[in-house]
């Protein structure tokens, strides 16, 4: 006697059809339930992001006389001050990114190889400033860097300088403050990426004859690339739109796009020029992200295809 054959004859075809029907309905119901969970988020994104962006886009075509057209955009390319501001913004963002990478990579590396006893406090040292308000940190830098600030007073007390260094209200101060705020955005993804690298890989490299330096550049660096790229993109893109730190530490001498947007609002009767600047910033940010996405594809160790 075959048990399988017995089961087949015992259940009528009608019952099997009903079961299939019910199972299909259950699956559709489940899919719909999942979709429902995403509705609040979709609404928020739609109402608070897509709609304002479209509104911004439409406003950017209204020039200062109230006429509809490309007047605002034409202004950017005819006025040298705008070109200068854009170049300046990219220059600062690039400097902040490079300095953050140079300073942040060793920190993340050290944290990834140290035992938890030491890595824990280091992580805390990265996170505590990260959790502190950017405004507070910017003002703190003002105190530290100013003419009669901590650094200048210490250096002159040590007789290392005759006149105080101008560390603030210029590019230097802006970059120092921005690096401080941005560096956790590099360290955190980089650390996660490094922690995922199997420690035996470096041992294997040494075992087959690779010096520590060579193993670092050939094995560790390529494998930490995903975290490095993620952090680098994050910093660069965030730096492009930075406002508070350059406004306070730049002392009006360092102009970035975000500041110009704010000034345009006060300067012109319509929101047009400010909106157009914002749209341009958004487009350039998107372009940067797109380029870096291509870079990620090229440089990722797994070579995503």
């Amino acid at each position: 006697m075959e048990p399988a054959a017995l089961a087949e004859t015992a259940i009528p075809q009608a019952q099997l059809d009903r079961n299939r029907h019910t199972l299909n309905r259950e699956r559709r119901h489940e899919n719909w339930s999942m979709l429902r969970l995403t509705i609040p988020a979709l609404l928020i994104v739609g109402v608070l992001m897509v709609a304002p962006l479209l509104w911004l886009l439409s406003m950017s075509f209204v020039d200062i006389e109230g006429n509809y057209g490309l007047g605002n955009y034409r202004l950017f390319f005819s006025e040298p001050v705008y070109v200068e501001i854009f170049l300046n913004t990219f220059k600062i963002a690039l400097m902040v990114t490079v300095i953050s990478v140079l300073m942040g990579y060793p920190v993340a590396y050290l944290m990834s190889i140290l035992p938890p006893k030491w890595a824990g406090p280091m992580m805390l040292a990265v996170l505590v400033p990260f959790w502190t308000s950017g405004l507070v940190r910017t003002f703190s830098w003002l105190i530290i860097l100013q003419r009669k600030g901590l650094i200048n007073e210490t250096l002159s007390w040590l007789n290392l300088i005759e006149r105080p260094l101008t560390l603030v209200h210029n590019m230097t101060g802006t970059v120092i403050g921005m690096v401080h705020i941005m560096i956790p955005f590099l360290i955190l993804p980089l650390y996660a990426s490094m922690k995922a690298i199997d420690g035996n890989l470096m041992r294997a490299a040494a075992n087959v004859g690779s010096s520590p330096t060579h193993a670092f550049f050939r094995i560790f660096l390529p494998l930490s690339m995903p975290g490095l790229i993620a952090g680098t993109i994050m910093i660069f893109v965030m730096s492009l739109g930075f406002y508070i730190t350059p406004a306070l530490l730049g002392g009006g001498r360092v102009k970035m796009i975000a500041q110009r947007i704010e000034e345009s609002l006060a300067l012109y009767p319509t929101w047009g020029p400010a909106a157009a600047l914002a749209v341009l910033l958004l487009l350039m940010t998107a372009l940067c992200l797109w380029i870096s996405l291509i870079l990620v594809r090229r440089l990722s160790p797994e070579r995503v295809r």
Binding site: N200, R203, A204, A205, N207, P301
Partner: protein, 364 residues
């Protein structure tokens, strides 16, 4: 490299120690490995076998001692200057390189001409029976294939010796059994001095020329697989390698006794005292059927079957002796054994041939 012309080198380890605070992970261990020998370091976790291997590879710095390859001291050398090949437990293949790039990496470091690298990579891939896999990504390989690539990368640069850290532990049982034979065959062909670490006694028995058994940081015994199985020096080794039951022995006027039963020994009874144990290998005990012939000097034990288990290739019984000790008995799955398979509760007599009657000291 892939022929038998590889020069095998002897390794000598003297008074090697590694302490972590008060813990003696490796406690003054000394032994020699012959040129071309396959030696396995065997022991439970925490016995110090992996620490010892890591010290030979150069990843762990010993507190004291000497490691010499072919008479040359290497204890002070950094790992990348030791010229030792190693197969890592999780293989440690570089995920951002292809199979071919992984295997070529040690050769590229040695600035070997491109054409020769290609030639040697192809030959070693052929040796591990993965010819034509050079362009594959590591993620496209199965566990067994990764294992063989790790081996290929470890031997392609003709290292002075080869180390293997639990090389087969990540594979499933069937593949492990196949790879044991395959590694054995490869070693027979290359005759490279090899030190392997495992906690799997079967792996050690199958692959090794000699086995060094470790316990709590100390070397217990170094011997060939047969020697170790047949004449273990301590209860620890007898218990760790193979399955064994132990019966307490004592000496009285008649000789060596278990309870009030005199025991006929295969070996010299000198030195047997209250610390000695009778070692019973399950496969050496036989359940005596009524018609079986027994010799005068066989040792017979009466008992009762507690459990009887059918395990496929063999039948396993737990038998409680009349003195209350439990012993295991294993019978091959042959039709006559299966037919007469005693059930739980049945009274049986066990026979242990005199030649199989071995004693070990209780300590250790």
């Amino acid at each position: 490299m892939t022929n038998s012309s590889t020069t095998a080198l002897p390794v000598s380890i003297q008074s090697l120690s590694k302490h972590y605070g008060a813990v003696r992970a490796v406690d003054s261990v000394s032994f020699d490995i012959d040129a071309g020998e396959f030696l396995t370091l065997l022991g439970p976790s925490g016995s110090g076998k992996t620490t010892l291997l890591m010290m030979i590879a150069g990843f762990t710095r010993p507190n004291a001692g000497s490691i010499r390859i072919d008479g040359q001291e290497i204890v002070h050398l950094p790992p990348h200057k030791r010229n030792i090949g190693m197969v890592f437990q999780n293989y440690a293949l570089f995920p951002h390189m292809t199979v071919g790039e992984n295997v070529a990496y040690p050769l590229r470091l040695r600035k070997i001409p491109r054409a020769e690298i290609e030639d040697r990579v192809n030959r070693v891939l052929d040796l591990v029976r993965l010819a034509g896999y050079g362009a594959r990504r590591i993620t496209e390989l199965s566990g067994g294939q990764r294992q063989r690539i790790a081996l290929a990368r470890a031997i392609v640069f003709e290292p002075r010796i080869l180390l293997m850290d639990e090389p087969l532990s990540a594979l499933d049982k069937q593949l492990r059994d196949t790879m044991q034979i395959e590694i054995r065959k490869l070693h027979d062909r290359l005759r490279m001095t090899t030190i392997s670490v495992t906690h799997d006694q079967r792996e050690a028995l199958t692959m090794s020329d000699r086995i060094a058994v470790f316990s709590k940081g100390r070397l217990e015994q170094v011997a060939s697989p047969v020697e170790l199985y047949e004449r273990p020096e301590s209860r620890f080794i007898a218990g760790f390698i193979g399955e064994s039951s132990f019966l307490p022995l004592h000496r009285d006027a008649r000789g060596i006794c278990f309870g009030d039963q005199q025991i006929n020994l295969a070996q010299d009874a000198d030195g047997v005292d209250g610390d000695s144990l009778l070692m019973l290998r399950p496969e050496r005990l036989r359940i005596v059927s009524p018609g079986d012939v027994t010799n005068m000097d066989d040792n017979l034990f009466d008992g009762q079957v507690v459990t009887a288990a059918f395990q496929g290739e063999s039948l396993l019984y737990e038998v409680m002796l009349s003195g209350g000790q439990k012993v295991f008995v294993r019978a091959a799955n042959r039709s006559e054994n299966l037919r007469a398979m005693p059930q739980a509760g049945e009274k049986v007599t066990l026979r242990l041939g005199r030649a199989d009657t071995r004693i070990v000291r209780a300590g250790g």
